[in-house]
Symmetry: C2
Subunit: 569 residues, 2 copies
């Protein structure tokens, strides 16, 4: 790709800018084909980003990308074009904005709805330091459903500063955008309701400018120039429409399926088991309802939504609201299943405590992408959930060891009368399992051994199996247990086992997880306890398998521990 | 107080209703004078609640009180008048709605902004069950700043059900309400901007009715009747104005100071030390800014806000936004202090991880009301923070042992370059302390002993001191340590101490707190470890001191443990 300085961009013709956009699209497409990543969202903002780099001066001016999955063109246009092919690989360029990566990245994002708050903080600091630069928040219409946006807008005038909000309206979250804000935007685009709805934004202290064609330089460039001018005296909301997937026929047609792209073949997914099983259960039990925050497909809920549209609720990127809604549905006798990624459930932490568990209501949290999720990096790893859930009273926490066991846990959950969390990684295999009993572990290999391994979740059970096989070769007998409930903990089994050496393996942060719970239970037993899980750091992007070994439980370390325990006798 | 059936209320004259209101106010005032509680917020909604009980039929119809600190008149009018004098005492009537207490309480609240989501869930369940009753969410204008409200409003039409939202507009959060939504409400009240702003609500699928005088039956009764009628075909937002503290001259004049009332004398407060110290530090350091979510006075920030208004930000009841704003201010070189109650910080859990610690930014969280906070009950106890914070990478967690040590920690924090949490209870005393070193414990009593006590926080250090004195009488030597940093943990001290018996005492849930951290560190040391903290249950309302002993670390149990360790030799 050609390199463009800010000056070159400023002097380029529209035709030259369009050629640059073609090159950027090619580069993104080539890289994502190899590395995976966010395709449609990035293809949609190519013209917009080129135009921003022409009109504004980075890194002096600051841009915050809400969610951040639309920052590839920015990375290509700033200082990372030559490293872009390393995208999402360990040590390579991140798929999200990272302050640590470049001075062109002003603020790290990954979860939805933070950009306006962040822009306000950066602008306010600028004012207090009496500096002079522009601050831009680029936000998709999907994020405009998120409550944080309104908290930020509400304080815009109180904070008395100036920011430019660019509303990148493509009609999509990962799923199509839903809700009343979306309807307002649709009418603005249709030109039907300008006065009252424009006032909606003006109320917040924003001068509204729209609607502009965000994939067309003829529309975009003068709009940005005008917004930059207005920004000298007021905060501005610039409403542009873009086409998610623009410039690539298949992406344009299926922006939901090409939002994120994985290279190589996919294995079987837990999400499919969720969708199928829940749909079957819901046929027999009318109380069952499903709730999602804008991720119907990724969570496997499509079959349920199609079969039971009146009992399926996509509330937009509103993780907290989804949690309270689930609690209230349960309070009135329904049986809600709230499916969500581990990392996004952090947003609903207070509502899990305050609304669901505080009232001891039978909401089932189906927590997908638990453990390292890989190439999306720090903001998407699901490594904290066992820790932040285990501290909550009234909550039962289940960790299936394979797809079949997950199915059985879901079947069990239908009659479970209290809050339940089931956490699982993306991919898995069918396998054997023994009948589920709440709070009971499952012994997989029992031997006359002095070493017992407690492993939770498919990745860790597979690891324990590998250790078991390696140990057999050296004639070291091992007992291996599927620690499939973190809470209630199987204290009866834990305290009655004779093995003097205890090894725990989990796909979660070491602090506050399974290892800590087992250590608490066995602390005065005289047993030696060795815990393996993620170290106390934010885990960067990379291959999930590699990250698991590098930052989490590692085969060789665990096997060395086994040998040492055995040698000690 | 006279008892009124629904029929009697329906047939009463306005004069009779007014007399009833006087009786309710008397009863509330009398009880709160003895028991403490929320005064001004309850006095403001007496007429509104009486009118609701006349027009609607509880418990068949459901009402959800947002935050819930305005439910006393409802409790007096439903089935709890004869027990109302037990308000907020252990085993007595809760100061918040509790499903477990009465069928008239449809949904438990305590934190702001949940009521519309909850009403939607209850209404949707009603529709699915093909039942027929009305669902009402009663919300103050302060809560209307909270993001959850907008997440719920956004999905109102998607969920395709009907609820009545009553906006109880008294212009106050605990502090006066701030922000753009507030300004809209003010203009609606002034009658200046009806069309566009009414449309703001209609956009969400709400029929707007307002503005009605909420302390005047002549205005209120026909409005509620009309709202009930409209509710048959549409969701309704009924905008009423009330006077916080209505009917009591001092409360009307000082609704912020009489929002919550404590009986008896108050001790010295950590919040005062925060306000004074931060103001002093800010004189020398221009980078220092203060952030609060609508609780300036309760957190002690008034002096700072008065002295540095341009560096002090009250963003309304927006705990998440306040957290992101702080992170962004820090990203641009400022030094933000975000003061908040422990229980409300749960709302910002994801932002602490994703925005503050993920970027390793020097935001200082000043976490007030840590440990049991007492009479407000389950939703207000600050017993989880050590657990949910300790799992977060990059975060330092400090726990001062007295007011003087808190002051020193704040002074230390000014030059601390990374995320820091300082957690403390409401009240405390000045006292001795040794110089603060990050991650280092402080030995308070060192003896040739076989028992060492690690205590964190003023309540627990005081408890340890009591144990120390009792042990002296029995000639049992004890070592006592102020475990003033949970993270980083003082592993050097922990692993070098010779005592074979370790006792931990903390003002936090046992799961995931100090005891677990120390147990993790010492797990293969051969030491006996005994941890004391809160059991794994939601802690109800009552006297804070009593709850501490009943649900948390208990003098007698700990002393029995000391004796047992000593006897074992």
């Amino acid at each position: 790709m050609e390199k463009f300085t800010h000056e070159a961009l400023a002097n380029a013709s529209v035709r030259q800018l369009q050629t640059l956009c073609e090159q950027i699209r090619e580069e993104i497409f080539r890289t994502v084909s190899v590395r995976g990543g966010h395709l449609a969202s990035n293809l949609g903002v190519v013209e917009l980003t080129v135009a921003l780099h022409r009109v504004f001066t980075f890194p002096e001016d600051k841009i915050i990308f809400d969610v951040g999955h639309q920052c590839y063109p920015h990375k290509l246009l700033s200082d990372r074009a030559d490293r872009f092919s390393t995208l999402r690989s360990r040590g390579g360029i991140s798929g999200f904005p990272k302050r640590a990566e470049s001075e062109y990245d002003s603020y790290d994002t990954g979860h939805a709805g933070t950009a306006i708050s962040a822009a306000l903080g950066i602008a306010k600091a600028r004012d207090l330091k009496k500096e002079d630069f522009d601050v831009i928040a680029l936000i998709g219409d999907g994020s405009f459903n998120n409550g944080l946006i309104y908290e930020a807008l509400n304080s815009l005038r109180v904070l008395n500063t100036r920011i430019l909000i660019i509303l990148n309206d493509n009609g999509m979250s990962i799923s199509p955008t839903v809700g009343s804000t979306h309807d307002v935007l649709e009418e603005l685009k249709a030109g039907n309701a300008p006065l009252a709805d424009v006032r909606l934004f003006e109320r917040y202290g924003l001068e509204y400018m729209g609607v502009f064609a965000g994939n067309d330089f003829e529309s975009l460039l003068p709009a940005l120039e005008q917004a930059k001018e207005k920004l000298k005296t007021s905060s501005v909301l610039l409403h542009v429409t873009t086409k998610k997937g623009q410039g690539h026929p298949f992406c344009e047609q299926a922006p939901d399926l090409t939002h994120g792209v994985s290279p190589g073949k996919k294995g079987k997914e837990y999400s499919n088991v969720l969708g199928e099983t829940l749909t079957t259960l819901a046929e027999a039990d009318k109380r069952i309802v499903a709730v999602t925050a804008a991720m119907t497909d990724a969570l496997g809920l499509r079959p349920f939504f199609e079969k039971f549209p009146e009992r399926a609720f996509d509330v937009g990127i509103c993780e907290e609201h989804a949690s309270v809604l689930s609690a209230a549905l349960a309070a009135e006798g329904m049986k809600p299943y709230y499916a969500i990624y581990s990392t996004f459930l952090q947003r609903a932490f207070d509502e899990i405590i305050h609304d669901v568990c505080g009232q001891n209501l039978p909401v089932t949290f189906c927590i997908d992408r638990a453990g390292v999720s890989g190439a999306d990096g720090e903001t998407h790893q699901g490594v904290f959930d066992l820790s932040y859930l285990s501290l909550i009273p009234n909550l039962t926490i289940a960790i299936p060891g394979n797809l079949s066991e997950f199915r059985a846990m879901l079947e069990m959950s239908a009659s479970f009368p209290a809050p339940l969390a089931i956490r699982y990684p993306r991919e898995g295999e069918e396998g054997a399992f023994s009948p589920i009993e709440i709070g009971k572990f499952d012994i997989l290999h029992s031997n006359m051994s002095d070493i017992i391994i407690y492993a939770a979740g498919e990745r860790c059970i597979n690891l324990a199996e590998r250790i078991y096989q390696r140990a057999r070769l050296e004639e070291i007998p091992l007992t291996v247990v599927n620690a499939r409930f973190l809470k209630p903990l199987d204290e009866e089994l834990l305290t009655s086992r004779p093995e003097r050496n205890v090894i725990t393996i989990e796909d979660n942060a070491l602090i506050g997880g399974l290892g800590d719970a087992i250590t608490r239970c066995l602390k005065n037993s005289g047993k030696n306890i060795f815990c393996f899980g993620y170290r106390d750091v934010f885990i960067p992007h990379g291959d999930a398998r590699g990250l698991f070994s590098e930052f989490g439980p590692n085969d060789d370390e665990i096997f060395a521990c086994v040998r040492k325990c055995h040698a000690r006798g």
